[in-house]
Amino acid sequence: MKELRVTVRENVPVAQNVFRLTFSLPEPVEGLRCGRFVDLSVGDGAHLLRRPIAICAYTADSVTVCYQCKGAGTRRLAACKEGDALTCVLPLGNGFVLREEERRVALVGGGVGVFPMISVLKEYAGSGKTFYSYIGFRTKAAVCGEEAFRAGSERAVLVTDDGSFGEKKNAVEAFFDDLSAAKPDVILSCGPAPMLRALKAGLAERGVRTPCYVSLEERMGCGIGACLVCVCDLENGEHARVCKDGPVFAIGEVKL
């Protein structure tokens, strides 16, 4: 984990209100991997907090993230141009890790939660894992990453809430509809809280014991584990820091 001045290489819209930003690293960074995140300044003095954004892809000298424009801070970020300097603390959080014996992997993603799912596909491309992707969006204009999911998965089911693209259902429904065919050894998921709640409830109702890991989102202060701003509730009554102990948790461990 370190703080670096990074340079914007590309910052372009990829779907309604969603931008893809690639920045150059001034020096090598160890520990970049899927499911971890970076904490990126938005480039002005008005916004004192960096924005935590999941790693979507990385190379030896660059990192790509995708973010949704949802407030003044991310609008400022969206205005950044090639060559602009930002500060970035990275890499942060624990990330997704697949065990050797976890060969069939289900990815359940919704909204901007699809990008960490793409990072898993990229991380494990060519590793002999078989991916089954269930990806949901609100509407057609929000769809992104289709190519990555189709190219990286044995089966990729893309759906929308309003039926304007793919079937009219959500990612969790698409996943459960296909569960008996996909027979995953492990389930990875990232998306809005209601989606994760539905996934947890669905697994419990059906008595599915397949290990399942979810990536959580929370507003952050320090991003490195010091301020206790970003906590989530655990089933055992304690709190965990999303930025340091997460963002990836076993679904049974967290209250959603």
Binding site: H47, R50, G221, C222, I224, A226, C227, L228, E238
Partner: protein, 304 residues
């Protein structure tokens, strides 16, 4: 070579830059980024006798040049701190300040007694705006400031006592004087100002707690004014804070009369803020041919 050393209540600091409570945990995480032994001191997350879970999330929001937080004193409790966190801090060559809070006078006395002699200084948080009975009640009126300070001081045999003042009061000068009368060895200020940010779409406050403590660059002029007023009301040393982001900001507080400073929110914007401030102090003193930072303290002259 300039001299950044300062002394407060007989405790030597290698420089006047201290991590502000609640923004730095117990130092372990920032130590992964730089050696926290370069700091003058570290004020811990607010400790209570028993562990506390704090407020629901979201616990943080932004305003223009400021942030609001409502963490609500989540902490592992004083015993876990002593067992798991203090040994790590002890290995670092930096002054350890335990920030403490309580619900009752007895709580304050008990936590001070427990920590007496085990840390370098104790900072009494009587100004947390984010918890009912988080001490804020004690921090508002001069009579109760005096009373809680006396209770804490009575429980301490060796460790110097800092009383941290709230800015959400009628008169900072009166509360500063009351803390000194109660037996405080040192003051620190300001804690956060109470504020609110509203999410128009949901027609609800952004923070789950509705209100939160405002901190960061935007509050600095208010903080400097309050530190100036407090310094003029007491004879004990004062630690200034509120919106410090660079060496020049820190020097405003020192010229206004502060013996040392704390840095909070700037650690979020820039994980290296404090090492940079220390470097910046060296450079500023060097450029201005000032030999020692202690010489600058209280050198402010008012107009007319």
């Amino acid at each position: 070579m300039v001299d950044l050393r300062v002394e407060l209540c007989g405790v030597p600091f290698k420089n006047p830059v201290i991590a502000a409570s609640g923004t730095f945990g117990f130092g372990k995480e920032f130590n992964e980024i730089y050696d926290i032994g370069v700091l003058g001191g570290v004020s811990t997350k607010g400790l209570t006798l028993e562990p506390r879970l704090g407020n629901p999330t979201p616990r943080i929001a932004e305003g223009y040049g400021v942030i609001l937080n409502a963490v609500g004193l989540q902490n592992p409790g004083v015993e876990e701190f002593l067992r798991d966190d203090l040994p790590f801090l002890r290995e670092k060559d930096t002054v350890i300040i335990a920030n403490v809070a309580g619900r009752t006078l007895d709580d304050y006395a008990a936590i001070c007694a427990r920590l007496d002699g085990l840390v370098d200084m104790i900072e009494l948080n009587i100004s947390c705006p984010n918890v009912k009975c988080g001490g804020m009640a004690f921090g508002i009126r001069p009579e109760s400031v005096r009373e809680v300070t006396r209770a804490a001081k009575g429980a301490l045999k060796t460790t110097p006592l800092i009383v941290k003042l709230s800015p959400n009061v009628e008169s900072i000068a009166a509360n500063a004087a009351a803390a000194q009368e109660g037996g405080a060895d040192c003051l620190s200020l300001i804690n956060t100002l109470t504020g609110m940010v509203i999410d128009l779409e949901r027609r609800r406050p952004l923070l789950a707690n509705n209100t939160g403590g405002v901190s960061g660059a935007g509050i600095r002029p208010i903080a400097v004014r309050m530190v100036f007023e407090a310094c003029n009301a007491v004879t004990i040393p004062v630690i200034g804070m509120g919106g410090i982001t660079c060496a020049e900001d820190a020097l405003e507080f020192i010229m206004a009369g502060a013996a040392a400073v704390q840095v909070g929110t700037a650690n979020f914007t820039d994980t290296l803020a404090m090492p940079r401030i220390i470097e910046g102090l060296h450079a500023w003193l060097d450029r201005h041919n000032v030999r020692s930072v202690a010489e600058l303290r209280g050198t402010l002259r008012l107009n007319g």
